[in-house]
Symmetry: C2
Subunit: 588 residues, 2 copies
């Protein structure tokens, strides 16, 4: 039972030396990536570099205890950093005391929301984000992130958060570009892009084994940081206009809750929910993909709890919002991480790095971090997704295009809201038209089929309609409209039969709709019957007055219904080889 709440107990009791070796190697590789990425994503979020490093300590320890994925690498990630900057920027200027406070509250609030969603099994809330919306949002966020880092690459000042603000701002300041910064940026970018494939290949040609070469290939980020920091210090590039990181506080974060501010919390609640959901959707998708490779299972509700607690930990340790990151998780998995202990070891290694290395990082150029960010977000961009989705479904393509356009042109939160709103509207539109079929009897059988697809017979006094979906408020009116239409079209109508064999649920709106149908048919002296109602639906209807007010009957089968309401025709048709000619419908 305890392992239900503390998933680490399930693997910790079998933990052995071989596991430890593998986890240590994976942790070391992830740490090498995470030190520069943590500082880079903190810069992207507008926070001091240590916020990113702290985000790689306590949250990782917490996830190791509560998470169910054996490969997920939690910590600061690019998209969440961008969303943090967008939200914190609405309440304070970067650098102002309120700014980091806002980021901490975003972590606490999104952590609390994830925790609640997990405890109350409300992970379905994440399904508000349809795939086209999340995919369009991530690509647009990647473009915004890249655009926001151009100023660090060029060594200029820019302003604004959307493309229509950033691009003119870059154009206006392009004259002030720092050539030393530009040269450094270009070198680091070129090295990082080459290293993605080239470094491992080179190491292999130098005689290393393929797996080791691949592992060491991941040191490119560290190499870029070390070499560019040393070059800046040795050549005095900071005096030539290259912006550097400056002093980073040495030591571990201070723990404690940030100052309570109700107004701030109200302002940040909506963006915190978006950060929670976007972070969760990304994280669970990575975790499930990696788990499937080893036939492992990731528990969605427990992941919500684990990510929620990790973010509460981030908020309580001067860090920033965190989630599972794509690139580091793949590296962690490929490097052989066997248990979440790899994450805990990573946290310890990061802490050691902060204690030992921070004094050496003062000369780390911001341009290097910007280059690291840009190379990281390149993998987020999927420009073929839009034409591919449009070709598959125009509605889904429209939702994706709207999300991208609004995110790029108006803002991050607005883009997500527009996408969610549009996909809900389109969903309601599709589900507002339930699949319905007017049915008639197939000759020689007790079967009833769609009159448009089969040769069947109908009694002009009886209108039988089958609904192929559950009845909910978005589609209730469609059934009402169809039956009211039949009432107006068929002057001889005496009975309406609703064949409900595919109806699994009837909500209160649909019940009112059925009552309205019953009343309207009654006013026109037409009886309303049901057939093939499922047991649970029948139980549900018995809790209302509907069955008392029903003018007609509830039949076990559609054949029973017709045998009662139109006995002669039904029996004749049962014995005939073709019965659609027995009594034709009157011309309408």
């Amino acid at each position: 039972m305890t392992s239900h709440f503390l998933p680490f107990l399930t693997w910790a009791r079998h933990y052995n030396r071989a596991n430890l070796t593998n986890d240590l190697i994976a942790a070391a590789v992830v740490t090498i990536m995470l030190v520069p990425q943590g500082m880079a994503y903190a810069m992207l979020a507008g926070l001091p570099p240590q916020a990113g490093l702290y985000g790689a300590m306590l949250p990782l320890l917490i996830y190791a205890a509560f998470g169910t994925s054996r490969s997920l690498a939690v910590g600061p990630v690019a998209v969440v950093a961008l969303m943090t900057a967008a939200a914190a920027g609405t309440v304070a200027e970067i650098g102002a005391p309120g700014y980091h406070l806002a980021a901490l509250w975003l972590a606490l609030l999104s952590g609390a929301m994830l925790l609640l969603m997990g405890v109350f099994r409300m992970g379905f809330i994440a399904s508000f984000l349809s795939h086209p919306v999340i995919s369009g949002f991530i690509t647009a966020a990647g473009i915004l992130i890249a655009a926001s880092q151009l100023r660090h690459l060029l060594g200029i000042e820019t302003s604004g958060k959307t493309l229509p603000q950033v691009i003119p701002s870059i154009a206006a300041n392009i004259g002030a570009v720092s050539l030393a910064t530009l040269a450094l940026s270009a070198s680091v970018l070129a090295f990082l892009i080459w290293s993605r494939a080239g470094l491992a290949a080179l190491l292999q040609r130098l005689g290393l084994s393929a797996p080791l070469a691949k592992l060491l290939g991941k040191t490119a980020l560290l190499l870029a940081v070390v070499v560019s920091t040393f070059a800046t210090w040795a050549l005095g590039l900071d005096a030539m206009g290259v912006a550097i990181l400056g002093d980073i506080p040495r030591g571990l974060p201070e723990f404690g809750l940030p100052a309570f501010d109700l107004t701030l919390i109200q302002l940040l609640a909506a963006p915190a929910l978006m950060i929670a959901i976007v972070g969760y959707v990304e994280s669970i998708s990575i975790a499930q993909t990696l788990a499937a490779k080893k036939r492992q299972f990731v528990d969605a509700d427990k992941e919500l709890v684990a990510l929620g607690l990790a973010n509460l930990g981030a908020g309580a340790s001067n860090a920033m919002p965190v989630t599972g990151g794509l690139s580091r998780s793949i590296v962690n998995h490929d490097a052989g991480a066997e248990t979440p202990a790899a994450g805990a070891i990573t946290a310890v290694m990061i802490a050691l790095a902060v204690l030992v290395l921070t004094p050496l990082m003062a000369y780390l150029p911001r341009a290097t971090l910007a280059a690291i960010i840009i190379v990281a977000v390149l993998s987020l961009l999927d420009f073929r997704a839009l034409p591919r989705t449009l070709a598959y479904s125009r509605a889904d393509g429209a939702a994706m295009a709207a999300t991208m356009a609004v995110t790029l042109l108006i803002g991050v939160e607005e883009g997500l809201l527009a996408g969610v709103g549009l996909s809900l509207v389109l969903y309601l539109y599709r589900t507002s038209r339930p699949h319905m079929a007017v049915v008639g009897q197939v000759a020689g059988t007790e079967h009833f089929r769609n009159v448009e697809r089969h040769e069947v017979t109908q009694d002009p006094h009886v209108f039988s309609i089958r609904v192929d979906e559950s009845l909910y408020f978005p589609n209730a009116r469609a059934l009402e409209d169809r039956i009211v239409q039949a009432l107006a079209d068929l002057p001889e109508l005496r009975h309406v039969v609703l064949q409900a064999n595919a109806v699994n649920y009837i909500d209160a709106s649909a019940l009112e709709s059925l009552e309205a149908i019953n009343d309207r048919l009654k006013a026109a002296e037409v009886q309303f019957h049901l057939s093939e109602v499922k047991g649970p639906v029948m139980d549900q209807l018995k809790r209302s007055h509907f069955l008392d007010d029903l003018t007609g009957e509830v039949f076990l089968t559609q054949f029973d219904a017709m045998a009662t309401l139109s006995p002669e025709l039904t029996r004749a048709c049962l014995q005939a080889e073709r019965c659609e000619t027995l009594r034709p419908l009157p011309a309408q």
Copy 2:
């Protein structure tokens, strides 16, 4: 074709003297109700009385030309008046020049929205309002309306729009109550409540025929207005503290668009959409109920156009937002209205009344109008709806309770938004769990049924799952989770078959989900197959890369799939009388 756009052409060409007689009688009765109600609802909306009278002129003429209901009586109604007051009150104080301007823009905006929804056949947007939400909202609105009129009944000043504001305000001012006003209010209220049943009965006892007595019973409003106005003038009640209406401009409204103000329009867009949808939902429901009694058909899209144009007309003639009203429509129908001409005749009669009678109305007490409003909203209150809905479905009951509570305690727009939001969340929750069944073969048949309900056999290498709903973004993840779970649970698994006979649509999110399932199964060396895919769904899948990437096959039937993937077991089971014992599933 022309009659498609101008529905009145369909009835106008057969219009005869008998129609005219009936329409004239109905129009006269409706006019007698509409003159006092129009002024009363204008007062409720915080507008001058003529705004309500103007709302009963041009909009009615327009609806007569474009509407498809033969009984609907369009004009100012109580709930829309309350919503107008709530929205206009956010941009200006009652009586300030901007207030009536806001009301006119609400009419124009909601009219334009209805028109667009009709032209683009987007009536499904109204299904965002589930029945429990609209029902709870109307009852709560009725309570708020009644509470807002207490000040007129008592002759005191109050402030606030929500119950927690209005009730203390009444309590604080109760000492200033005007006894003359109270006496007048009590008399008028008592008369109106008695007259609902008593007047017709009395007239019948005096020798009138039952139908005539019923018709003349509708003159109670007019009687109350005439008698209380005369009494106020004759007894000089206005000097004793009875608030009177004062001068009403004589003559027809001035036509023309109100001043354009982009900021105002942006502020009013959201409330205008709510007014449009609430007004439409109420109106179409009344129109369909009345049409069914005569086996007539009301075209929902044309109704949107007609109500949209009617509101544009209201906004362009110094009136207020309008829609189809319940009580007047029933009176119109019962009085024998045969065509929309009754509405056009009503408009002319109202115009005559305004030209002739307005000078006589200066002494009309506001308390009389308040009593008329209160009696009208009594029919809106349905306190049994909440327990009834809660008994039927706790989720729907919760949505209704939330709508009522937020409307009463926080505000009209907030209440609607809370209800819509909660019902969408609950809808997503329910639809996020599609009906799925693991299936196995029934002995001696080619049929496959739910393993939980039938004695069937399964091959431990093959996991067959049937989804009983279309695949959309809210439920796509559930299928993914179920299959990933099976992958973790069944160590011998080699094939997964998705039986898709009930899937009518696969949206882009569900497609991505199927691709993720395919990829994850591929990583675990399990093949993914489909069976019984419908034609349109197959066409849709062919527009994606899914079928190219699919590791398995698409089978025509589930039997074909099993006969290929597990030929021995399937053939043995086809010939056996019981086959669940042929090869049992391994213990999990």
